[in-house]
Each structure stands twice: as C-alpha cells, then as structure tokens.
Symmetry: C3
Subunit: 416 residues, 3 copies
C-alpha cells in the first residue's frame, strides 16, 4: 500500500464518528477493500471450516481468502494442516476442487508431488542442483477451537488467540463438534460489502420486521439489546428467563454466562448461552430439535443456543442437537460469500433422526432475508446522498462494537 | 475530483476542435464519465419522467442517475416531490421497485417511516435524545414543464430554467400531457457513451440510410439541415411546407416557430413544430394517428410534431394523438439507458382507440437502429486509430451545438 | 504511459531472475497488460490470419488486437491490404462481421464509402471545402509469409522481418498454404494471461501428463528438451530418428534443419521439421493423414511436422496433408483468445478426402487441456503466496527463451 493510500485511509479512519454508521467509502472503495484484505483478513484469525469437513487422513477442503487459495488437509497423524494451494514450480493451483481426498498432493501441470505435510517428494527433470527441501508448500497458521477451524495468513499470528481458545473450550467442548458430521452446507453470495454482512449479524433490531422464521425461536433481546424506557417490561421478563436458564445449565456443567470481548482485544469475540422460545430446544420452525440424536453425551434437548461470535468473520450457534456455523469471506468491495454449515451427530441417520429440509429451513430463509437487506443497504450507501446515521443506543450496541474493533485494528495495522 | 484529474480534463477540453467530433477520451475514459456525472448530470436540469407515471397521491417512481437513486412521489396535496431514496439511519434504499404506490415510505431494514413530504414520522428504539426533524429525507429539486418532470441534483439549481418553462408553456400546454396516461414504456441499454446517444439524436444525416420506418413520416430536413448546393431544391420545397403549416397552426393558437437555444444558455433547449409527410398526423407507419382520442381539446389530427430537445438528456415529440418522450441516463462510460415513454389521452381505450404495437412500432424500430449505430461508434472510437473527424456543415449543425454546450458547461464547472 | 508507470515497469523488468518464471505482476497487472499491448503487440509483427481466409478479391476478415479492430481485405489486384476498421467521419466501426465479402467498404452510419485500397470515394453533405484524399482509411503494415498473414501496428515495422520471411520461404513453400482452403476454425477464450498461453506452448514437460491425444503422434523430445542423465537414452534414440528423417526429407528438397532465433532478434522465431511417431504422417489419432489430398505437389505423406514458432503470438504445424495454425490475442490481463485454423488442399472434398471431426480432434482436445492448465496457473499466480519458481534446465529452455525475448523487448521499448 503506497503512502498516498495510507494517508487516505488514515483520514477516513480519523473521520469515524462514534455511534454512527461508517462512511460510504468503507463499503465502496477498492482501496478500503484492499486494506481490509491485507490488514483484517490477512493478519487476524479467521474462521473457514469445521473439522467434520475433513474427518479422515487425506481429506481436504480449499478456501479462498480474496485471491489467496488455502488448502486445509488432515495429515496421516490426524492433525489439521494448512498450506497455500500453489505449486512452487510455475504457480499452478494444486487442488481445483473445493473438497476431496488425496494420498499426496500432485500438481496437475508437471506432476510435482507433495505429501500432506507440504514436503516436496518428487519433481522430474529438475537435475542434480535442485534442492527439494527448499520447495515445499508454504505453511499457513491453523488452529481448531472446539472443532471450528481458524487460520491466520500473517507470518506472525495474534498470540491472544490462545486465551480465546482456552476460555471457549469449556463452553464448546460438551457439543463435541469434532465428532459430528456435516449434514448440509450452503453458500450464498450477497452483493454487498462484508462489513454490511457483519453489521447485519450484530443486531436484532431488524429481526421482528424481517425474520418470521427465526423469531419463532429467537428472543431478539439477547442480541445486544439494552434496557430502555420503551422495552423495560420485555427486557425484565427476558432477563428473568436468562437467569433461571443459566442456573439450570450451569448446574449441568454447561458454562452459560456472557463473555463480552468484541472490541477489547485483537482476537475479538463474544459468547453466551441464550434461552430459546417455545420448547426452547433448537432454531427450527417449532423450536424442537431437528435431530433426535443429541450431540456428544448431552441428554437434555432444552439447552437453548450457545452463541459464539468472532471478529472479523463468523458466528455460530451450538444447540443440543446441531451446530450451525457461518463463515463470511469478502469477494470484492461489493460482494461477499456467506458459507453456512449444519453439523449433527455423526451417527445421526438422515431420514430417521433428522431431515435436512427441516434442519436448514430457518437459516436458509433468514440468510436470504439478510442478503436482501445487505444488498439494499449496499445500493443505498453507494448513493452520493448517503451520510452515516445514528445507531440506536438500545439495540445496536454490538454493531458499534464491531465498528470500533474494525477501526481500531485498521488504525493499528496502518499506523506509521 | 483531484487537481491532477482537473488538469487532465482541462487539457482535454482545451484540445476540442470546433466542427469535429470529440476526442476518444470523452467517450471512453472513466475520468470523463465521473466528470459528466458530477458536472453535467449532477448540476443541470435533467428529464426523468412524465406526470402520468405518478397520477395519484402516493404514486411513485424511482430513477437512477448514476449510483444515485431518486424517489419521485406525488404528495397528498397533488404536488410532485423528489427525494434521495436512502434511509437516514444506516443507508438502506427505501423503495426497491421502479414504481408503486405508498401511504408512507417505510424503510425495509428497521421500519423507519417517512411521509410523502419526506418527514421522518417514526423510528423505534432511538431514545429521547433523537431529533426526528433532523432526519428527514434529503430533497431534490423537481419541476414539471407541461407534464414533463425534470430534476436537478445540485444544491443550487440553474435559475434560467424558469425562463425555459415559461417559453415552452404555450407550446406544450395544448397537448395536456398531465392529463394523459402512459400507454407504453420501454427501456433499452445501448453499449455506448451517453454523448454518442445524444449526438445521434441531434442529426438526421443518418436517417435515410438507417431508419426506414421513421422516414415514412419524418422529413429529415427539419432536424438541423442547412441549405447546400446539393440539397437546395429539397430544402426549398420543405421550407415552403413549413411556412404554410406554421401559418395554419399559429392561426389555431398553436405556437410553432423555432426557438433555438441549444448552446446559448445553461439550460439549453430547442423547439419547433414540424410538418410530417403523407397524412401529416403522427409518427406511425402510415403517418396517421395511432390513437383516435386526440389529446386535450385538440380537434385536428394533422398537427405534425412539436419537437422539444433539452440538454443534456432528452427529446420529445408532441403530436395530436400521443406524446413520445426519451430520457437518456448514463450507466457507465460505455453504457447508457434510453427510456422511451408513449402517452395517450387518459380516456383512450386500448384495443378500441389505440393499439400498443402500432403506437410504438416506429420508435421501437428506430431506437434499435440507433442503438446499433451508437454501439458500432463506441467500438470504433475505442480503437487507437480513431481521430476526430469533420462534421458535415450542412447536416450536423445541432451535433456541433451539443458539443459546444457540453464543452462550455464542463469548462465552466471545472474552472479553477 | 506516464513516467511513474514507466518506472514501475522498469523495476519489474529489472527484478526478473533468469531461469525462473515471471513475477506475478506480469500476469496480473493492468499496467503490464497495457504495456504489452503498446510495446509488444503494438510494435512487433503478429500473426492474425491465413491467406485462404480471404481467397477472392473483396473477401475480408476483421481481427481485434486489444481494442483495435483491423480490416484485412484482398484487393482487386490480388494483394492483401490491412486498414484500421474505423470510419474517418465520426469513428464508427466499418465492418461489424468477422468475415465477409465487399465491393467497396461502406460505413453503416452515414454511408461514407472507401475502396479496397482504403481511398475515400464518396461522402455526402460534406461540401466543397472537404478534401476526400485526406480522409482515406489508415493503413496497417501487412505481410504474407508462405500464406501466413502477419500485421504490424507500429508506424515503423521491424525491418528484420524481411530476413525471417526469406529464411522461412523454402521451408514453407512446398506446402503451398495460399492455395489451401480453411477446413475449420475454432476460437476459445482462456481465462489466463497471454504469456501463460505462450509459455505453455513453449515446453512439452507437461505433455505426457496432460495430452493423451497429442502424444500419440508427437515426440516431446523435439520441443525444447535438453539431454540429461535421466533422459539420455530416450534423447539419443530420438536424435537418431531426427537425423535419419532429416537426411531423407532434405534429399526430397524439403529443408528440415532447426533454425533457432527465438531470443536473438526483434522478430524472434524458430523452425524445424520433426518426425512424428507411428506412421509419422500427421497429428491425428492414428498419426495418419487426415486428408487424402496432399498439399501442393507433395507425394509422400510421411513428412512429419514442420513447426514454426513466432514471438510473440503464434505457432504452426505444416504437415503433408494439412496445416494447423494458432494465433494468440490478449483480451485482458487475465483473458486470451486462441484462434486455431486447419487448412487442407483447396480441392480436397469434405466427407470424401477428409472428415472435419477427425482433422480437428487432436488439437481441440489439446487446446482444451492447455486452457485448463493456463487457467489453473492464472488462479495460482494471483495468490499472494506465489513466487517465481525454477524452470527445469532440461525441458523448459524455450520457455526461458520466450521470457528473455519478452523482457528484452519490453526493456528496449520502454527505456528512457
């Protein structure tokens, strides 16, 4: 990034007005998009997959972070490895498929062959002077947190992620995600900036007016609402339910209390186990479990939803019967991939224990509604008439925290 | 626009050679496109709709001027209002449909609600400190001239438009466009710069070779031809017809004389009532009226065509039985939207008084022929080999006037 | 090209490491693409068509070199003429079709009319002061080498092409391409930089692993292989076949020896007549002739393949029964047109002497395989992780020569 671009970005960052939506340039400009890819997605831990996608040795998935293709593969020793998906000879992509299973990784162009630890095993016609040990695949930091696979593209990954993993472990462990299987995965492209996708996720002010399926089970109060004169009664009643539920769940050994660290650390995150409405079991059309086979050793279906949000690009809901995970990956200043993955117990039988249409109905509908909201906002902010508007002090607190984290991180990464 | 861009533009403007087509950069460069949107379409009165599109209170249309979406709505008091189609909260587009009818304008995202005068009536969860009166919709200048709706996006709109409206009023009034209905509207995208579309409209040198349907009724001589040795006989005969016709029409109270102000004012325009060939009634395949129900209180079908051209983006033909209007809106340096609207008397009955296919045949054919000419010219000027060529002194005078107006306006707007 | 761009390009050129693939920017950056179009495709002889495409007077083809459309037409005197395909009036493209036949060249817009030597014959309404002789079509250098049509867009074309033509004449003449007819022409778009297409063509290291159809007849050894410890036996056997074949062919009056001038001159080229495997006749699925009617006065079908490679954009295989030619034209930094043309004797009868599916099978399959390799490499080098890798010293020598020629030419053209 040239000096002139750094100056422009610094000026944009300085203009940010607390409590107001971001300037249009943050959603539109290619300069900001490049900065986001370099400094946010290039230097932080980002969520890209779940362990059940690569259950067996040799299983792999590829993920695209901007133009950068990453190969995530399970090694013969059971560990998760991540490499740049690029041959060290003339740069061909190695694995063109999004998922598959390999013994070794063989380049299609001239058959250079690497093992699942990235070492170059074989390269024909290169002669005696060629040192294979200097032409292994380039490694990428990778880490599983309770079965959720995060990668970091930076040379030096943020070290505070160790603490995130440690604090989340007791929350996530009972759901045993690594022992699940993928029941469904859906990708949608939203024609909007990735930050609009994230901001949309960080408030439920829009839920009642837009998400009839989701709000069958979800209380909007749990998603960043603050007490106000207008909603005092509803909030009080909700908080009572939360306290009762937390007491019950904690007594079962399920940590439930909120941890709120969205804008207070490099690897920002938030978690809380929240009650669900009606039968209180799962985010489905009747709030009952979508899979009869509960996760891990769980016995009680009414565990609400353990939500886990991470900066910059994910959120997850762990329920008694399934886990639904969302990975947000920018494609351009005005386009974003949202990949949603539903996992159930690996022994659950489709058609017997669960039905895919029922399992995915709420979030497929909700994702599509959110896509439309994001796209309308992208169109609106592109108008010369847009100016940042005020966040609701009672419902958009987590949006503000996203903005604060984002602006802080970009300031930190781009400062002279 | 940065200083370096202003300098480049000034250099381009200075190079313009009178009597020659514009430099390639005017048709190709994104810099010029941005300048056109900022200085031409952003600061002048542009034609965007006709009143019959929003006949009743609450009726609205949206129009896109570059990335800027404008909401044009008829207020309960019958007036025409125009606003930026952007919510003052987080910037969502308000109305996604191109036309419709509303009571109030409700944002789809968080249901902020505005009335048809743009005032914010309702915004939930915003608390006591929030001042609704400071968050109304942003207004856009709007004005109807004989039923033709013009807007201006500038803070201060050119004031000479008052005079344009006053001078055009007696020409347009007899056709009572505001009391018509829309019989058909067609949008086409031409893969060429908007100035090629306008230049194509400003000469009929190309008509005989390209427009078999249009030239059944249209005399090309009326569209900017000057007497020359080669066409002296034809011009003389045509001028005789014009004089006879003007005498007849003026005696009926229909102003018909030319007003030629295309390059002599900020809000450039031209008008003249021109005879049509054959039965002389309408721009149809047999030159007879397409609608039996004549406009307003008109009795005589043989009124030729009252043409009205405006800089930068419209032309119109008012005939005894229908009005056809053309709105030109740039989409990119190399793409332009042309929206054609045919209006007939509001009491005319489709299938009885008029047939849509017959009404629209000539201009649908002509538009498609012009689209091809524009697109071939866009391809040609993009070649490195293109250099501005000489305009015909006898047939391309109005093209020159368009170029002069355009270059003058850009010079004026961008001068230091 | 501005100074700052020239500096950036100079820096990129200086970084080039001999024996390694090019930096990513050479495949990705729009700056480099513009430089390639200006300095490589704009100033060198490029292959664009074969004479049989314009067999008769008035026959024409158009070819697009970047945004520049060129009209190649056979004049009444039998000569091949080339012009910019742009009207000198307002810049319309003249011929929109890719091929056709004309008496004169008439602009569709205002019917300006040029003859097949580019002279303006007719332009209506232009008046007495207009000098037609100053508004003829702009000429482009054009030259046929053994029936292969090359053009040069520069004002002054490289003069060393005379020598290329003279040295190639005895190799190409016996196949009498100008007396052939086009049996098939196929265009494919490869989503990769044109240099990846050329590099792919300049080595056969990838052939065994990717081209099952081509390697039925082709010995990979002839395409840039150098003797190495690993392939010593294969190379020795192959060289023996080459020597025997050359002796036979030269005794028949067919020059066969290698001329290797790929990186030693402005108009770089290489030629050699190479034996084919099996029956040794043609690049088909059984290595036998695809057309029973041999070219020119040739009697012996087993003439192997006379290959002719030119910098920057072509390769050709002349066999006893047909000629297959490849023209590579950049469309964007990441997209390239490859046009393949198969010619047979003009008296060969389809369905009797040859079958198009059989004639084209090997190269249609091979082109598609190469397309995939190019596209995977384009994706790979776009990753931030790509770095130039080492060429095989034993199989990628001609790739290195392409890179050296390219870098040298760009350095020469852009030096201060």
């Amino acid at each position: 990034m040239s000096n002139i671009h750094t100056d422009l970005l610094a000026e944009l960052l300085q203009q940010r007005r607390p409590g107001y939506s971001l300037d249009a340039a943050f959603y539109l400009s290619d300069l900001v998009y490049q900065a986001d890819m370099q400094h946010i997605f290039g230097k932080h831990w980002i969520f890209v997959a779940v362990e059940p996608q690569i259950a067996e040795p040799g299983d792999y998935v590829t993920v695209e972070v901007g133009k950068t293709s990453i190969l995530i593969v399970r090694d013969d020793d059971g560990s998760v490895q991540a490499f740049h998906n690029v041959c060290r000879h003339r740069g061909s992509r190695l694995c063109a498929q999004h998922k598959g299973s390999v013994g070794n990784v063989v380049c299609p162009y001239h058959q250079w062959t690497y093992n699942t630890q990235g070492q170059l095993l074989y390269a024909e016609h290169m002669g005696d002077g060629f040192d294979k040990s200097k032409h292994g695949l380039k490694k990428v930091h990778v880490r599983s947190v309770g079965g959720l696979i995060f990668i970091c593209l930076a040379e030096n990954a943020p070290t505070d992620f160790d603490e995130v993993a440690a604090r989340m472990q007791p929350y996530l462990a009972p759901h045993k995600l690594a022992e699940c299987k993928v029941a469904a995965q859906v990708e949608i492209i939203e024609k909007g900036n990735w930050k609009l996708v994230m901001e949309n996720n960080r408030e439920c002010y829009h839920c009642v007016g837009n998400h009839p399926e989701l709000t069958l089970s979800l209380y909007e109060y749990g998603f960043g609402y603050q007490p106000s004169p207008a909603n005092a009664a509803g909030m009080a009643k909700f908080n009572e339910i939360v306290q009762t539920s937390h007491a019950r769940w904690e007594s079962m050994g399920l940590p439930s209390q909120v941890i709120e660290e969205l804008d207070t650390r490099v690897s920002g995150f938030r978690t809380i186990r929240l009650p669900l409405d009606r039968s209180g079991q799962s985010q489905t059309m009747n709030a009952e479990v979508a899979s009869k086979r509960l996760l891990g050793d769980l016995k009680d279906p009414a565990l609400g939803g353990l939500s886990f949000w991470t900066q910059p690009n994910s959120w997850h809901h762990f329920m008694s019967d399934h886990v639904v995970s969302f990975s947000v990956l920018p494609l351009a200043a005005d386009a974003t991939l949202v990949r949603t993955t539903w996992c159930v117990h690996k022994d659950a039988v489709e058609g017997v224990d669960y039905d895919v249409a029922n399992l995915t109905k709420v979030w497929n509908a909700t994702n599509d509604q959110d896509r439309r909201l994001v796209e309308e906002t992208q169109v609106g902010v592109a108008s010369g008439a847009y100016e940042p508007g005020p966040y609701s002090p009672y419902t958009e607190d987590l949006v503000e925290k996203f903005a604060v984290w984002y602006v802080d991180r970009l300031r930190e990464q781009t400062k002279a």
